[in-house]
């Protein structure tokens, strides 16, 4: 019995080994038929690194809706923040011979092996919201213009700060610096405040690594060190609950226009930010246009399949929503959707 089970396991592994060895040397499959040709519905594999925040959940829902609207079949995989698991999942897509891949990579470097694998299998691959590192691997990335949109948002906040006629002490919550989006947002903030030294003095830069607990601890510490802090920008709206909690604890959570109001700004456009805008607590947030980005991803895959040229980067200009344009812009804000 013991030897039989060892033999059975050995056979199973041997089969898998042969499969594994064969795989690396196997010739690439033929290029897919051009889009528009008659045949079964195309299948698109959608791989998300995480569903940790409302932005990713809303984006996945938008993909389901957009692909459904175009009669495309979607299969999904979530990597739970694990780059190696994501590599495995996208390779699964490739072995299932999907017609296109959309990927939110865990990071810019670890996604390169799977982009190369998709290239070898002639499957178009589009990166949603996070671009890859420079390499010879071919893909399209649809990304928000993090730098420009953040700069525009912070510039609006600075304009509101100027109206108070005094200088403000500012804090910025910085994301995970392994994420190029976080770097773009940090740089956009710095560029905006550099142009307004007479209005803004940055006294706290809180590294959050996209972690709410770290954000809350950082904000509480900064508020203790600088009780007169009156200007806060967060690199992502999902950190607002931490900021609100810390401000409430310090008795500084006031509506726009009320005495002692701390100017608040963010990035993303999630449901929390929408509620804070609607309730009058939030000054502005830079909104990533999820629907534009999702549509651009699907277009890029279909264009690539049709042999049309596809740019390496498609930029989502996004928009700034604030108390002055709330009604006009809310229809396009993904966080405002019920």
């Amino acid at each position: 019995m013991k030897h039989a089970s060892i033999s059975a396991l050995a056979c199973l592994l041997a089969a898998a080994w042969l499969a594994g060895c064969g795989r690396s040397d196997a010739p690439a499959p033929a290029p897919p038929p051009a889009a528009g040709s008659a045949g079964p519905a195309l299948t698109i594999g959608v791989s998300f690194e995480t569903l940790q925040t409302g932005f990713w959940v809303a984006s996945l829902d938008a993909f389901k809706a957009e692909l459904g609207r175009r009669n495309l079949k979607m299969i999904q995989a979530i990597a739970d923040g694990d780059a190696n698991r994501q590599i495995e999942q996208v390779k699964n897509f490739i072995t299932r011979k999907v017609d296109g891949i959309v990927m939110v990579p865990k990071d810019a470097k670890a996604c390169l092996p799977v982009i190369k694998a998709a290239n070898a299998a002639h499957i178009p691959i589009v990166l949603f919201n996070r671009p890859p590192d420079k390499s010879d691997a071919k893909s399209t990335a649809v990304v928000a213009d993090n730098f420009a949109l953040t700069k525009e948002t912070v510039t609006y906040m600075i304009g509101e700060a100027r109206k108070t006629g005094r200088k403000h002490k500012a804090m910025v919550l910085i994301g995970d610096l392994g994420d190029i989006n976080a770097i773009g947002r940090r740089d956009g903030f710095e560029a905006a405040v550099r142009e307004a030294p007479e209005t803004i003095e940055v006294v706290a830069r809180v590294p959050t690594e996209w972690n709410q607990e770290k954000a809350q601890a950082g904000v509480v510490n900064a508020l203790q060190a600088h009780p007169d802090l009156s200007f806060i920008f967060t690199s992502s709206d999902f950190l607002f609950p931490s900021i609100v909690s810390a401000l409430t604890g310090a008795g500084k959570y006031k509506k726009v226009g009320e005495p002692g109001h701390v100017l608040l700004g963010g990035f993303d456009g999630d449901a929390t930010a929408w509620q804070m805008l609607a309730d009058g607590y939030l000054d502005a947030t830079g909104v990533q246009d999820v629907y534009f980005e999702v549509e651009a991803c699907v277009n890029a895959i279909l264009d690539a399949r049709a042999g049309k040229p596809v740019p390496e980067i498609v930029k989502d200009p996004g928009f700034v929503i604030h108390q002055g344009n709330l009604k006009e812009k809310s229809a396009r804000m993904w966080g405002a959707k019920k």
Binding site: M1, K2, S5, I6, A8, L9, L12, L13, A15, A16, W17, L18, A19, G20, C21, G22, R23, S24, L51, I75, Q76, A77, I78, D80, G81, D82, A83, N84, R85, I87, E88, Q89, K91, N92, I94, T95, R96, D107, A108, K109, A110, L112, P113, D133, D176, L177, G178, E209
Partner: protein, 329 residues
């Protein structure tokens, strides 16, 4: 006959379910049944390509789980395995990276990176083992705190940034399945031999069963425990080589979410959380079973939350089976 196999004589009149529960081959049987049951309904599950994918992702987990097996046998647990993998990953990448590596472009880059990774893994294991034996601290607390410390250290050292541009020879260790297998097979055979045929293996089981009795019998218990953690650290370092090669970059958060898989696969395989029981072959079965579940549920296009719930349920069931086996004797 190994120490694990000598645990308890089976009563002759035991019923089939009881015999199955006690069987060393339960997980292998479940894996085969699961595969056969799902293959017709799961698109691509039995395809050559998918089996290749499965193998390439199974091997690094198996190496990490082998280390966990050794530690569980001795009655401990190593929660720091994932942070060792992350720390080794950035260490190797920092040495070998063509971008900013200390030995960028040197022909010694890859061997030096491998040596550095093994040294880091071994040293963290040594620290764990010494803290547990010298200060008589619970393994759970020691390895939990070292997990936190070394995870934080890896992120602090790299400022959260991944390190890329690794040499092709390094990437091949994790990226080429046949090469990974060639690395893992002798490692597994060696670990199996050491556990089942060597004096050190017998000491491990004896220490795990009853450390006091082992000490009275002349087993150097403290040294055995320390050696188990060193071996676990070294195997975590090898897993780091494979994971880093797969991702073609060193990451300070590499394997951060893998602890459940590492401990889970080991326990599913039959290693006891109470010590004194476990084998490399059983762990391989546990890894195969866990990866089959993971892979098939993904291919079935189930939601992430469903997959997490099913995996958690299976690991819980395995832990319950472990407790039941102990009660059945």
């Amino acid at each position: 006959m190994t120490a694990a196999a000598t645990t308890h004589p089976q009563p002759e009149a035991a019923s089939l379910p009881v015999r199955l529960l006690r069987s060393e081959h339960l997980v292998l049987l479940l894996s085969a049944l699961y595969f056969l049951a799902l293959a017709p309904f799961t698109p691509g599950f039995a395809s050559v390509g998918n089996l290749g994918n499965l193998l390439s992702t199974l091997l690094p987990l198996f190496v990490a789980a082998m280390g966990q097996t050794v530690v569980l046998i001795v009655g401990g647990i190593d929660l720091s395995a994932t942070s060792i993998i992350a720390l080794c990953s950035i260490t190797g990448a920092a040495v070998a990276s063509g971008d900013q590596g200390w030995l960028a472009g040197s022909p010694l880059a890859v061997p030096a990176a491998l040596a550095a990774m093994l040294a880091v893994g071994g040293l963290v294991g040594l620290f764990n083992g010494l803290a547990i034996t010298r200060f008589r601290m619970p393994p759970f607390i020691v390895t939990l705190t070292t997990m936190m410390f070394f995870s934080g250290l890896a992120i602090w050292l790299t400022r959260s940034r991944n390190i890329g541009q690794l040499p092709a020879a390094f990437n091949a260790l994790g990226g080429k399945t046949w090469l990974t297998l060639l690395l893992c097979l002798p490692l597994a055979a060696g670990a199996h031999f050491m556990l089942s045929r060597s004096v050190w293996g017998r000491w491990l089981y004896a220490t795990g069963h009853n450390p006091r009795a082992a000490l009275v019998s002349g087993v150097p218990v403290a040294g055995v425990v320390v050696s188990a953690y060193v071996v676990a650290g070294l195997l975590a370092a090898v897993a780091a080589v494979l994971y880093t090669g797969q991702a073609e970059s060193g990451s300070p958060v590499l394997a951060q979410r893998l602890l459940l898989d590492i401990v889970g696969a080991t326990v599913i395989g039959g290693a006891s959380l109470f010590g004194g029981r476990g084998r490399i072959l059983w762990t391989l079965c546990g890894v195969v079973f866990l990866k089959l579940i993971d892979n098939s549920l993904n291919l079935l296009d189930l939601s992430h939350f469903t997959i997490m719930m099913v995996k958690g349920g299976v690991i819980l069931l395995a832990a319950m089976l472990d407790a039941l086996r102990r009660r059945l004797g």
